[in-house]
Amino acid sequence: MSVDLPEVIADRRHLHGLQATMLSDQQLTVTDKFGLRNKGFHSAPGSEEAEALPVPATLLIDESGKVVWIDLSADYQRRSDPSVVLAAMEAHFDIAGH
């Protein structure tokens, strides 16, 4: 989920060979539903079309649709560390069954 335009997502997806579903949230409607709009930012440098940016966040959701783990960054430039996310997935998801 990012504020990129669909064309930009398609471009980066191809460039980096990404497999995950990547969604465009230009108006931050989804971001707002999760309460993840970064209010400290009123402009998004490098992404001029977007009015704001989301707080960098990683969420794990179980089969019942319940949030079981959240990693929020206190810094807009920092992303979740892959090893931290993997450890959380092992802790909260029954990986063997999936």
Partner: protein, 143 residues
């Protein structure tokens, strides 16, 4: 002052203004270097008063050095201190690395249902995630 006219003409004493200019340039350079180090480490402090004081102090020292008169070469560190010291507080005051938010989703909450658009322009409905383990990432943008 001291040393002038002492007969040791080979070594010209440094003008007071030049000395001040060098001190100002060192303060500006060290503070700037520390600032960019913290920025790279993404650990800029919320309170930047110290940085602003150091930069403005360096700029003020640079101006003072020029008033006290420097040698021709001594003007270079003075101008450097003024430029760095006057410009960087602006950057320091506006650069925001810390995010602000009020309400936020919490562990135990139900995932909000949403619709969106993927990279191919296809509509996406979060209902398609029901019954699955899901990892959702929000990130700033491609840059």
């Amino acid at each position: 002052m001291e040393g002038r006219g002492s007969g040791r003409a080979a070594v010209k004493p440094m003008k007071t203004g030049t000395k001040i200019a060098l001190v100002a340039a060192v303060i500006a350079a060290v503070t700037a270097r520390y600032w960019f180090y913290l920025a790279a480490e993404v650990s800029l402090p919320a309170d930047r008063t110290g940085f602003v004081i150091a930069f403005l102090g360096a700029a003020a020292l640079g101006v003072y050095a020029l008033i006290k008169r420097t040698s021709w070469l001594g003007a270079i560190p003075a101008v450097f201190a003024i430029v760095v010291g006057a410009f960087l507080p602006f950057t320091v005051s506006i650069s925001a690395q810390i995010v602000e938010r009020d309400s936020v989703i919490e562990v135990g909450d139900a995932m909000p249902q949403f619709t969106s658009t993927d990279g191919q322009g296809q509509a996406f409905d979060s209902a398609s995630l029901n019954g699955h383990l899901v990892l959702i990432k929000f990130f700033r943008a491609h840059w």
